[in-house]
Each structure stands twice: as structure tokens, then as C-alpha cells.
């Protein structure tokens, strides 16, 4: 079964809007997704009916808000099949979740000479924190390269993950070119050598069924806003033993058990990592988001995106001068198609498409090393989600052809 986009589109009020006089075609889902009405309603419901600070209040509103906040933690655990709600730490976003691991685990357990294995396709958020740690601790960074199809080089996985490796931090699905990495193989290799694995799930969790127990991953980070949820909510999943032995991230209220003037003791996990008043309203609304996606089924979302990607690549291939980056097989690729049009800079293409109502991303996608590796300064990127339809590709292809006419040096007549 695939999904009924007509019915799903009814759930997303923004899809009714026009942009520059044309119907909105939203193909920038890898940057952020749109929100269904029920999630918007859940936010309004929080602020209009049970807004209160959580965990400490003894009144009815506080109890209700605490209940809904903690219920979302359980729903989040269920969504990725985590063993328990206490495996889930709420952060602001994926970036903060990864930084939390760097500070609370990396700074405590890594030492000079240890190695962290990354890939050349990492988003800056799963690269820069490790560069900071490397500078501070003298830890070495090693990079698994990609081949010409944008897939990880298998030999590098074998060669680079070894006895000195303490952590393998790798993107599950590339936001830049869509590659779905062979994480099972990488995780097995890492664990053979006693290394931990951190998966950057910012793109995978919103688009694939991800099961942390089946994967046997140690850390998984993702964001609510890329999966129909509100901005300002990130998730760190971690194995319980790791959370127990890690140091706190930020100090302050909620993360403590007992505070004296000179020292304090820490709260239980996961609250040890949630100092200060968290983003209560958005977390509660994220619970509704998870209900929404679960009802549709992540397998169905994935099947729909394979169909979108297949058709998008087929249509793009018919335009002269198009280069598509990343794996050829839609099975190896999430709902992301990164491309360039010969002679037209992606920013110009993005501006022309915008005038046609089509929202894509143009730039380096926070993956400058990946762009260097592909030998481009930037790409245009169309990225899909459950509400996109095959016929929306018409507006994109029309805009691309128009940009080609505008910017290219006209071919000499007679050729």
C-alpha cells in the first residue's frame, strides 16, 4: 500500500497557499517539513488549556503538562523502538544532541591518540563538534570517503575502523545527496572493535522506519521539525548505561537531585541532561506528530518517497545538461535529489523556481567537505515528503527549462 496524498494534503493548511501567484510546490523537506493542522492545534491546546512548568508544580495544570511531556518521551521511545522512555533526552535540535554527546561522553572518556571515524558526507553538525573535541583532547579524526556514486567506500570502513577507534559518528541518510548508508555493516564493524556508534538520524528518522534495537546503535540524534513536528525539539537516544556514566551537559534546575553551596548531586537519567525549563509546548505537540506519522506508517512514507525520487530522476534525466549526484538506485537513496544544471548556478535556478512557486534548496547544504569532494561549490536540491505528488514535478521541470533558456549561452543557429 502506498499513501493517499490527496487526503494527506488536506491535513497541511500551508499547502493551500500560493507563492508569487502560483500554487506552492514545497520540495525543501530536508531543510524542514510542513506541519499538519493537528500538530498546530496541539500547540495551541497547550498554551490555551494546560500551560504550566513541569516536574515541580503540585497543581492540576503542572500535573497535566508533566504528564503530556513525559507521555511524549514514551511515544518517542516507541517510535524508534527504544527499550525505555529513559533512553530519550530532549534537546533543542539534532545539533545540540550531538554536542551533548561530545561534551558529556567525549570529553570524559576520550583521550589523546583515540580516534573518531566520520565520513566525508557529514553535515557540519556531525563534524564541527568532533573537530572541537579533537583540538581540545588531541583525538584523531579519520574520514570514510565516498565513491563517484556518493556511496561510502567499503574498503575505508574496513581500513579505518580499528583498535584505536572509540567512536564512529556517521550520517544515516545524507541530507546533501540522499545516500542511505550501510549502517548495519558499520555498526557491526564498530562494535567488533569496541567502538561506540552515533547515528545522525536527522534525515533518516523522518523518512524511514528506524529501530534502534535492531540497529544496535549506541547514540541516535534527530529533530522534530523535519518530521512534521515543531521547531525547537531535538532528540538524543542513548543506551541507558551510557547515559548513567556520562557527565551532565548543562548545569541548573531540574538536572540536580540535591544542591549544597559547594556541590550538588545529579538527577536520574534522562532528566540529568535536561537542565532548566524545557520546550514544554513543542515537546507536547511533538507527541501528536508521532501519533500522526505512526498512523500513516513509516513504511508507507518510505514507499511513497521511493516513487517520488524515481520519477524525479527520470524527469530530470530528460533535461539536457543535468547532473544528478548520489546513488542511482532509489533503494539506496532517501527522498533527496541533488543536481546541477550545466551553465546555471543553483542560486539562479532556485530564484527562477521560486518565481514558479517551487521551493527547493540551493547551496552547500551545510556539507562543504562533501561539496569539495563532488568538486562543486553548490547544488540544487529537491527533497520530498509524504504530501508531495508526482504532478508537482511538472512545475519544477518547467522552471528548470526556463532557467536553461535564460542563463545559458544560446547555441549557434543551425546546430
Amino acid at each position: 500500500m502506498t499513501i493517499d496524498t490527496k487526503r494527506i494534503r488536506e491535513d497541511f493548511p500551508i499547502l493551500k497557499r500560493q507563492v508569487h501567484g502560483r500554487p506552492l510546490v514545497y520540495f525543501d523537506n530536508a531543510a524542514t517539513s510542513q506541519k499538519p493542522q493537528m500538530v498546530i492545534d496541539a500547540l495551541v491546546e497547550y498554551y490555551t488549556t494546560y500551560n504550566a512548568n513541569i516536574h515541580r508544580g503540585i497543581h492540576a495544570l503542572a500535573e497535566e503538562a508533566t504528564g503530556r511531556y513525559e507521555e511524549t518521551r514514551q511515544k518517542t521511545a516507541d517510535f524508534i523502538n527504544a527499550p525505555d522512555a529513559s533512553n530519550i533526552v530532549f534537546t533543542r535540535n539534532t545539533t545540540e544532541a550531538i554536542n551533548l554527546v561530545m561534551h558529556s561522553w567525549g570529553r570524559k572518556f576520550l583521550h589523546k591518540g583515540d580516534e573518531i571515524v566520520l565520513t566525508t558526507m557529514e553535515h557540519h553538525s556531525n563534524l564541527v563538534p568532533w573537530q572541537m573535541l579533537a583540538q581540545e583532547k588531541g583525538v584523531q579524526l579519520r574520514f570514510i570517503d565516498i565513491d563517484d556514486e556518493g556511496e561510502l567506500v567499503r574498503d575505508d570502513i574496513e581500513r579505518l575502523i580499528g583498535e584505536k577507534t572509540k567512536l564512529v559518528a556517521v550520517v544515516h541518510m545524507s541530507n546533501g545527496i540522499g545516500t542511505i548508508n550501510p549502517v548495519l555493516e558499520i555498526i557491526e564493524r564498530a562494535h567488533q572493535h569496541g567502538a561506540l556508534i552515533l547515528l545522525d538520524g536527522a534525515q533518516s528518522v523522518p523518512h524511514l522506519a528506524v529501530d534502534v534495537q535492531e540497529l544496535d546503535c549506541d547514540f541516535l540524534a534527530f529533530s522534530a521539525h523535519k518530521m512534521c513536528g515543531p521547531t525547537g525539539v531535538g532528540v538524543l537516544y542513548a543506551r541507558r548505561e551510557l547515559l548513567e556514566e556520562m557527565d551532565p551537559f548543562l548545569g541548573g534546575g531540574e538536572m540536580i537531585r540535591r544542591v549544597k553551596l559547594e556541590e550538588s548531586t545529579w538527577n536520574d537519567v534522562p532528566w540529568k541532561f535536561e537542565a532548566g525549563t524545557p520546550n514544554i509546548g513543542d515537546v507536547c505537540a511533538f507527541g501528536t506528530t508521532l501519533d500522526y506519522l505512526s498512523a500513516i506508517g513509516m513504511q508507507n512514507v518510505r514507499a511513497h518517497e521511493i516513487e517520488m525520487v524515481q520519477e524525479c530522476m527520470r524527469r530530470l534525466a530528460s533535461v539536457p545538461g543535468i547532473t544528478i549526484y548520489g546513488p542511482e538506485s532509489p533503494q539506496h537513496r532517501g527522498g533527496v535529489v541533488s543536481f546541477n544544471l550545466d551553465g546555471v548556478h543553483p542560486h539562479d535556478l532556485g530564484t527562477v523556481l521560486d518565481r514558479n512557486g517551487v521551493a527547493i534548496r540551493a547551496g552547500h547544504h551545510c556539507c562543504q567537505p562533501l561539496m569539495n569532494r563532488l568538486d562543486v561549490v553548490a547544488t540544487a536540491r529537491a527533497s520530498f515528503y509524504l504530501y508531495n505528488e508526482l504532478n508537482e514535478l511538472d512545475a519544477m521541470i518547467e522552471g528548470i527549462e526556463e532557467a536553461a533558456r535564460m542563463f545559458r549561452v544560446p547555441a549557434p543557429t543551425g546546430t
Partner: protein, 158 residues
């Protein structure tokens, strides 16, 4: 094409003169043994440009402008190259100042001596593209600064 481009500002952004400079950039061939080589970089979009300058007695005698960038940044550099050759450094500085003013204040009247640069006036109405237009000029200012300091390489980030 017009039914796809209903809004006048769009035509203002991509004026025919800009498209012409983009398709046929002037002074693109890198100057050999230039007095100054300045690099410009826009981290927002990854665009990289290289500006080479020759001087004689306080006058810009030759320029080359190359690199990778969008139509706006490439056209801006191409037009700039044409305009600054043969001008005194003081004059070039004044043009740069006027151009930056035009880019940051969409309401300002472009001074007449800006010539072809006037074609870039519409860019000011597209805030996300302003840095594309100013990259070449900021690189030029860096090149001039570098000449004063007697250095050879300069690097500017938008």
C-alpha cells in the same frame, strides 16, 4: 516566458545586461604576474572569486575577475572590471562606496557615474542576493587594502 514571470522585480533582478555579462564575462582571463591577488568567499553559498589587479602610479591599469558563482556575482565582477580599469584608486574607492550604498538602500538614487552598474540596482530588492552582488566589490576593497600594506595575497569573506 512572461506569464511565468509576472512580477516586475524579477525582470529587475535579471536584467538583460546582467545576463549578457554572465554569459560573456569580461576580463575573465587571469592576469599573469598581477601586483595583487585577492580572493573572495561567500560562506552562505560557497561561491569563490579571484580578483587580480595591476597598478601604476595610483591608477588601476588592469584587472581580471574569475571564479565560481551565480549570475549576479559573476556579472557584478565583470561590470566592475570594465569600470575600474584606468581609474584612480581614490575614484575606485568612491565607486565602491556608492555601489554598496545602492545595494543596502533600495530607495537611494543611483549616481550617474555608476554606468552599467546601475543594472544591478534591482538586486537590492532581493535581500538574499545582495551579498552575491557585493562580493566582487568587497574583494576589490580587500585588494586595495592589501596593496597599501604591500602584501601579495588577501582573502575576504562575505
Amino acid at each position: 516566458m512572461s506569464q511565468h514571470l509576472p512580477e516586475p522585480e524579477f525582470d529587475e533582478l535579471y536584467r538583460e545586461l546582467i545576463l549578457d555579462h554572465y554569459r560573456n564575462p569580461r576580463h575573465k582571463e587571469p592576469l599573469a604576474d598581477a601586483d595583487v591577488v585577492a580572493e573572495g568567499y561567500n560562506p552562505l553559498c560557497g561561491d569563490e572569486v579571484e580578483l587580480r589587479l595591476d597598478f601604476n602610479n595610483g591608477t588601476v591599469t588592469d584587472v581580471s575577475f574569475g571564479g565560481r558563482g551565480c549570475s549576479i556575482s559573476q556579472a557584478s565582477g565583470s561590470i566592475m572590471s570594465e569600470m575600474v580599469i584606468g581609474k584612480s584608486i581614490a575614484n575606485v574607492r568612491k565607486m565602491s562606496e556608492q555601489f554598496n550604498k545602492m545595494m543596502t538602500d533600495p530607495e537611494s538614487e543611483p549616481p550617474e557615474e555608476l554606468g552599467d552598474l546601475e543594472a544591478l540596482q534591482g538586486v537590492a530588492k532581493f535581500p538574499v542576493r545582495v551579498k552575491c552582488a557585493t562580493l566582487a566589490w568587497h574583494t576589490l576593497e580587500e585588494g586595495l587594502r592589501q596593496r597599501e600594506e604591500g602584501g601579495h595575497e588577501a582573502h575576504v569573506e562575505e
